[in-house]
């Protein structure tokens, strides 16, 4: 698969430069082998590895973001006495610690996991404030203003920079990527939030088909959305602060641009623009608005909330300054930058009307920004910090009003709980409520899944959308070409979130904010003409381009290509940041420079006329350790491109040494390795480019459900539920991504010998026939570990629960048999078998928790409230560990880890790495299994029907590769698109290895029937395939019920397995029974097994009566006698329906016939 990738826009060419004349030197040049650049991938991941975007975002917050927030709000003072003030001078984040008896104790993440604490660090500030009647200045360094949860592996974390031995001492797994928080003992991930870019113009159509230009402005102070739309040939501004849309010319006049000619010049001299603008100008004249004052008066009449705010300059003027395209600054009342910005919006809107190609795609990745945890916590911290300061100001006002009061320490007004509990609550619940921006988001943070190592990594690279998943629009769900290399094309859920929830690709990096001032100065130094010096005529002169910096118009440049090249040269040499993006948009005649956070970008090799700058000696230095990835950036060999800048590049997948110079000369970049367009989870799939695409997506979902090893410290954790595979293996046919992410060390499956053949009827559909001896030897065996938590509660008056030893009679025998698992301390003993209904904590509770304090309780004052284990009868479960700790309220917490080793049984679910899942249909003795003359007996038999309709050719190649691997003793590779570069073995090479070791080149063997001993008539495709054991096991899902609890309202059986509910007979089941004619079975299911109820019905009036048990007679309330009563059985829900109808004055009457 060889191709060159050309993004949406053609490569920008300088029209003055002539194409190089074709030469014939390439025919005589020696053909050189392409440089193997794979070593750049581990070097990149070492520097910017997995989930580094989470850590970088948080590091940016704790180093710069928090400082900027505090600096912007660094002074609070009493309202009526400015001499009473408090100032924050500097702020920093300390080391993670917890306050115990007023002493700070250092904590580690694992300590917080086990003891249900929050892994947080104090936010320290140096404050100074006035004190006393003379207002002396007092300083207090290292004042704690709150506790901030710390992201693992960030700068403030104790794990930062530690090697493997040190991490082991801390109880951590070195393969754990970090990037999450521990809040109240739970691991929480703040998912990457995807949203539209801020401060950028988007041209679109709305639901009514109108052309709109919209900008979402975002600054520290305010967020607002500005929409300009055209309706009936007139252009209006729509802003939430105005009750009606405002004609756009009125807005321009209100901002000081009173001349219609100047507005027309600002938009453009093209007569087509004038034609489109003329009806709006006419409307303004019709309203008799000619001056700025009149325009402001017109707008003042339409303000949503009149009367509030600054009255001197008028409400609408302040709206125009602060809310209307809020990110464009107004300095000293100069509205000209806003006028120019509005004109650019109008011009682009008209371009879209005249030419549909210029509409913006909201789903284009370059129009998206990813909000990471650092930004989200920054918003929350700022809100909480301001709330804390507001509360402090209120207290200062109260104290300052009291004359002659004693001097008070102002620092006591700072309540650190506001920040501490606010942050903790938000991360714990996932609800982000910020009143200032009216932001109410849910599900921002989620519990990090520890089902498998891949599930954890998948969580860290996940991107969630902003809008509802229930909408069935296909636009946001479709695969975008701009996602190439940035977002994984395979990893997305099925169902309602399909296409909306996405995952990052392997080399993707998400940027953080960079300082804007020096970059702006650099732009002016390189020839950008300031906007304030230009007239409308000059702004849109032909041949010159606007320069927009993070959505703000800087000015104009007459030589845009040279400007872009100069900027890129500076970036490649490291003078400006490596993530700054320079995008020359030929359609818009605009150069976009972006240095804001949240852009996805990736590294690419720079090529000069198709020849890569990375040479073999560079790679040798990298392998020898002399050169690092950052050296490649600094020397200008590799650079980061974001999605927009990729439009100016021509990116080749491989070096094309077979092409001549003319074809190669337009290539600007080369991929480091094409397998990096997939993400972490999709990188597990061998030969995904040989599979049908949905199969790769299914495997991305199932790879997260596979059991295996989750971390090196998996046996020291206390997760609620943990599944481990007893003999996890690494795949025989592996991929480079597997080695890069460490999956070969924490595997989640086993290599099984699979025969693809028919065998009995038990492998119908997707079922698998399994070899009993393989299960005996440990195939698919897993361990399920579950945590049960008991709290020793405290009550008023100093009373609390107590733990007692098991009660015994005088002979020493246990009074209750279900106490056999207990030790003498009242807790279950580790290593003992615990069965269903056994007690694992022998707890007692005071009978009266409201008793007078001080009284001593005796044994009679306690009642038994033991913690009883609820398991499956007949299964052998073992107490693994019992842990005691105190929680933050100093209550005793008992955590009991109970372990169950399970062997696969019929109904358990398995899957290969290609979306081919199946349950175990039957387990067959080994002597009945087919065998080859080498004695190889397969572990499982797969139905060949699984292959043709699903087109998982990659699985077939995996079988061949695994067979070759086990023959020659080497791992084989199946990385995505890896055949040309050697990261995937070719089928021809694999077949050659098979033939060399005596196997058939196509992977087929002659098998003999195990039952009869005869040779099978067909050759059987047999070899090792990596199989995953999924978490769906019969033991967790099996449910049967003869009788049990019922719902109170309808007296029907409860619903669901966990409530011991009845088995559901749905509508489809009912239809089948009707079609089959099994009416008595319907009767039995819906009445006798559900909610039969005997009612007394009056034959005369048809209403329900009742049965008087004292008189032993039935009675009708309507007829006032019992002469005509008849007994019948009906569902209780039916009786309930009748009674509810009667409550609504609807009288149903029963007309009885003889039975």
């Amino acid at each position: 698969m060889e191709r060159t990738e050309e993004e949406e826009a053609p490569a920008a060419k300088d029209p003055n430069a002539s194409l190089p004349s074709p030469t014939y030197r390439s025919l005589a040049a020696p053909v050189t082998k392409p440089v193997d650049k794979f070593a750049l991938l581990p070097a990149f991941l070492k520097v910017r590895g997995l989930v580094k975007e989470h850590i970088d975002s948080f590091n940016y917050f704790i180093t710069k973001g928090i400082r900027n927030i505090v600096k912007a709000n660094n002074r609070i003072e009493a309202r009526n006495n400015p001499s009473i003030f408090l100032r924050y001078n500097s702020v920093r984040v300390g080391v993670p610690s917890v306050q115990v008896q007023y002493i700070a104790e250092k904590i580690t993440p694992h300590f917080c996991r086990l003891t249900d604490r929050t892994y947080s660090a104090p936010v320290l500030a140096d404050i100074e404030y006035t004190v006393g009647k003379q207002y002396e200045l007092k300083r207090k360094p290292n004042f704690i203003i709150g506790y901030l949860p710390i992201m693992l592996r960030s700068h403030a974390c104790v794990l930062n920079g530690k090697d493997e031995a040190e991490l082991a001492r801390y109880g951590e797994c070195p393969l754990d990527p970090g990037g999450y928080f521990i809040v109240k003992g739970t691991e929480k991930v703040i998912l990457i939030q995807e949203q539209l870019s801020k401060n950028r113009i988007i041209i679109d159509t709305d639901s009514k088909g109108r052309v709109i230009a919209s900008v979402t402005s975002s600054t520290h102070e305010i967020k607002s959305k500005t929409v300009i739309f055209m309706e009936k040939e007139k252009i209006y501004l729509q802003l939430n602060q105005f009750t009606k849309p405002i004609p756009i010319i009125v807005v321009m006049k209100a901002m000081g641009m009173e001349s219609d000619q100047e507005v027309a010049q600002m938009v453009g001299r093209d007569p087509r623009y004038g034609d489109l603008l003329y009806p709006s100008i006419q409307e303004c004249a019709f309203e008799r608005i000619y001056t700025q004052k009149q325009a402001l008066q017109y707008m003042d009449d339409k303000v949503m909330y009149p009367g509030a705010g600054n009255q001197k300059e008028g409400r609408s003027k302040s709206i125009l300054r602060d809310v209307f395209v809020a990110h464009v600054p107004v300095e000293s009342g100069n509205f000209r930058p806003k006028c120019i910005y509005t004109a650019v919006m109008l011009r682009r809107m008209m371009d879209a009307i005249l030419n549909a190609d210029t509409f913006d795609d909201k789903d284009y990745v370059g129009n998206k920004r990813l909000e990471l945890s650092g930004q989200l916590i920054s918003l929350l911290f700022e809100d909480l910090f301001k709330t804390m300061n507001s509360n402090a100001v209120e207290l200062m006002n109260k104290t300052s009003e009291k004359i002659h009061s004693s001097p008070l320490d102002l620092s006591l007004h700072i309540k650190e709980n506001i920040i501490t509990h606010g942050l903790e609550r938000a991360i714990s619940t996932g609800n982000w409520d910020i009143k200032r921006f009216r932001m109410h988001r849910k599900g921002v943070s989620q519990v990090l899944s520890r089902l498998s190592y891949m599930a954890s990594l998948g969580y860290m690279t996940r991107i969630t959308p902003q809008f509802e998943k229930t909408r069935k629009t296909s636009g946001p769900r479709a695969l975008q070409p701009s996602q190439w290399g940035m977002l994984c094309p395979c990893d997305t859920p099925e169902g309602e979130a399909c296409g909306l929830t996405k995952n990052l690709a392997l080399l993707t990096h998400v940027t953080t904010d960079q300082e804007e001032g020096p970059l702006m100065n650099l732009c002016y130094s390189l020839g950008v003409e300031d906007l304030s010096l230009l007239s409308g005529e000059e702004i849109h002169a032909s041949g010159s381009f606007l320069v927009m910096f993070n959505g703000l118009i800087l000015g104009k440049h007459r030589q845009p290509q040279r400007f872009a090249n100069a900027m890129r040269k500076l970036r490649r040499s490291g003078i400006i940041g490596e993530f700054v993006s320079i995008f020359v948009n030929e359609k818009q005649h605009c150069i976009h420079i972006a240095s804001d956070g949240g852009r996805v970008c990736r590294p690419l090799i720079i090529a000069d006329k198709g020849i890569p700058r990375v040479k073999e000696h560079h790679m040798k230095q990298l392998r020898d350790g002399i050169r690092s990835f950052d050296d490649f950036l600094r020397d200008g060999l590799i650079e980061y491109l974001d999605v927009n800048e990729e439009n100016n590049a021509l990116i080749a997948l491989y070096e094309h040494e077979d092409q001549d110079d003319v074809q190669r000369s337009s290539i600007t970049h080369i991929e480091i390795e094409p397998l990096t367009i997939l993400g972490v989870v999709a990188g597990l799939i061998p030969y995904p480019h040989h599979n049908q695409s949905p199969r790769n997506t299914y495997q991305c979902a199932m790879g997260k459900q596979a059991m295996g090893n989750i971390a090196y410290n998996q046996l020291f954790r206390a997760d609620s539920l943990l599944y481990l595979l007893v003999y996890a293996q690494r795949p025989l046919l592996t991929t480079k991504t597997i080695e890069l992410v460490g999956y070969d060390k924490l595997g989640a499956g086993q290599n099984a010998t699979v025969a693809v053949m028919s065998y009995s009827g038990y492998d119908i559909e997707d079922a698998i026939v399994m070899n009993k001896s393989s299960l005996d030897r440990g195939f698919g065996r897993c361990i399920a570990m579950k945590k049960y938590t008991v709290t020793k509660e405290k009550y008023e008056g100093g009373y609390s629960d107590r733990i007692v030893k098991p009660q015994r009679d005088k002979d020493g025998a246990l009074l209750k048999q279900n106490m056999r698992a207990l030790d003498e301390d009242g807790f279950a003993a580790p290593g003992l078998i615990i069965r269903n209904h056994d007690i694992y904590v022998n707890k007692q509770t005071p009978r009266n928790t409201k008793r007078d304090s001080g009284a001593h309780l005796t044994d009679r004052d306690y009642k038994d409230s033991p913690a009883v284990y609820k398991g499956v009868d007949g299964e052998t479960t073992v107490v693994d560990r019992v842990m005691l700790c105190s929680d933050t309220d100093e209550k005793l917490i008992i955590k009991c880890i109970i372990r169950h080793t399970r062997r696969p049984e019929v109904g358990d679910k398995f899957s290969s790495r290609h979306g081919q899942k199946g349950v175990c249909g039957t387990i067959v003795q080994q002597e009945d299994f087919p065998f080859s003359e080498r004695g190889i007996c397969p572990d499982l038999i797969m139905n060949p029907h699984g292959f043709p309709s699903r087109m998982t050719i990659g699985k077939m190649i995996e079988l061949l590769g695994g067979k070759a691997g086990v023959s020659c003793g080497q791992f084989h590779y199946g990385s995505a698109f890896g055949e040309p570069s050697g990261n995937a073995d070719k089928v021809e090479d694999i077949s050659r290895t098979l033939v060399k070791h005596g196997f058939s080149y196509n992977g087929k063997d002659l098998l003999y029937s195990g039952i009869l001993g005869h040779p099978c008539q067909a050759y059987v495709f047999m070899g090792p395939i990596y199989y995953q054991k999924l978490k769906h096991m019969v033991l967790d899902k099996m449910h049967a019920r003869a009788s049990g609890p019922r719902v109170l309202l309808t007296r029907q059986p409860t619903e669901g397995r966990s409530r011991d509910g009845g088995l559901r007979l749905g509508e489809m089941e009912r239809d089948c029974l009707i079609a089959y004619g099994a009416s008595m079975l319907i009767f039995e299911r819906l009445l006798i097994s559900s909610d039969p109820y005997q009612v007394q019905v009056c034959r005369k009036c048809g209403l329900l009566g009742y049965y008087n048990h004292k008189l032993k007679a039935s009675y009708c309330s309507m007829c006032k006698n019992g002469e005509n009563m008849a007994k019948m059985r009906m569902p209780y829900a039916c009786k309930l329906l009748f009674q509810e109808l009667q409550a609504m004055n609807v009288v149903p009457r029963l007309k009885l016939t003889e039975g």
Binding site: L715, V726, K772, S773, S774, D776, R777, G778, R781, I783, G831, V878, D880, R899, T901, Q925, Q926, E927, F931, S932, E933, R934, G935, I936, C937, L994, V995, K996, H997, G998, F999, S1000, Y1001, K1004, D1005, L1006, Y1008, G1010, I1011, L1012, G1013, H1014, P1015, Q1017, Y1019
Partner: protein
């Protein structure tokens, strides 16, 4: 391949010729019988020859990283020398201990006590650390090391030295301890694979290869070489003296038809004809070391004979419950 006409039962006089016989490996020919007998022998060798394996584990102390069930499972899979297994009793039928399986007639007791104390080195607990109360039943690696210490049958080499390390059970770090008692009992592979003495047992039909000499003469030497190399396994060779294609190893043939396809591609169909003899079987037996290959074969024949006797001796109205009589032992 055509199947022999069924329905007619006839008396057979099978012949056995042993080609290779080692302690854990045997290769022999079985002739003048049909697939049912060969397959029955294979099945009995895999699933019905009794051996001894650890069946109950009582763990007193286990502070290693593996949990109790994990270690118990690994102990059960260790092959134990089972030469005495045929004479032992099944625990469920033992009258000496009333079926609880703890007496000397039906079980063997093992002890293991290991503790990593002094150094930072990881202590490897292997099958050599298991102490048996019966010297006849012990892990196979122990038995092999014992034989070697006596200056026994095989000379010393690095492979034997590697074998003496024993089967790894668990690794202990400093301070970790493992102490347990285990009981080994008699069983058959049908119940659990740990009791199967066969690492693998397989047979193949002996191929009958016929070369058409007249067609072979029309081939050039290069064509002959290509024909020989078309087979993934080395079946044919070229005689350096006569330049003729000869069969070097007929049993290396894997019935993959590659050489026949090659002949067809050369335009010479019928150059080589290969058929499977339906009355000749080449058996390959590998054992886990619990019993020798010879014992495995002879015990299998004994078990098979017991089953046949049970069928023959039953009355017409009796059920087939006696088929399991050989499982009683004694």
């Amino acid at each position: 391949m055509e199947r022999a006409a069924g329905g007619v039962s006839y008396q057979r006089f099978p012949r056995v010729r042993i080609r290779e016989l080692k302690d854990d490996y045997a290769k022999f020919e079985l002739r003048d019988t049909d697939a049912s007998m060969a397959n029955a022998l294979r099945r009995v060798m895999i699933a019905e020859v009794p051996t001894v394996a650890i069946d109950l584990v009582e763990i007193e102390v286990n502070s290693s990283v593996l949990n109790d069930e994990f270690i118990a499972h690994r102990l059960g899979l260790i092959p134990l020398t089972s030469a005495a297994a045929m004479a032992m009793r099944f625990s469920r039928d033992c009258d000496a201990c009333d079926g609880d399986g703890s007496c000397e007639y039906c079980s063997v007791e093992f002890h293991l006590a290991a503790r990593a104390t002094d150094s930072d080195q990881t202590l490897e607990v292997t099958s050599n650390d298991l102490r048996s109360t019966d010297p006849k039943v012990c892990p196979v690696d122990q038995a092999r090391a014992y034989q070697h210490a006596l200056g026994g049958t095989e000379p010393f080499d690095t492979a034997a030295a590697a074998d003496q390390r024993g089967i790894l059970i668990v690794k202990l770090r400093r301070g970790q301890e493992l102490r347990l008692r285990a009981i080994a009992r008699k069983g058959i592979g049908k119940d659990h694979a740990k009791w199967s003495p066969a690492a693998t047992v397989t047979f193949m039909y002996e191929p009958e290869i016929r070369i058409n000499e007249e067609l072979m003469e029309t081939l050039t030497l290069e064509e002959k070489r290509n024909l020989v190399e078309s087979s993934p396994t080395k079946v044919f060779n070229i005689d350096p003296n006569t330049q003729q294609v000869v069969v070097e190893d007929a049993e290396a043939y894997t019935y993959d038809d590659e050489v026949i396809k090659k002949a067809d591609a050369m335009g010479k169909p019928g150059l080589i004809e290969i058929n499977a003899k339906e009355d000749s079987f080449i058996f390959t037996v590998e054992t886990t070391g619990a019993i020798t290959a010879y014992e495995l074969i002879m015990n299998a024949i004994t078990v098979l004979r017991q089953k046949l006797d049970a069928v023959r001796l039953q009355d017409d109205d009796a059920d087939l419950g006696e088929l399991g009589a050989h499982l009683v032992g004694g």
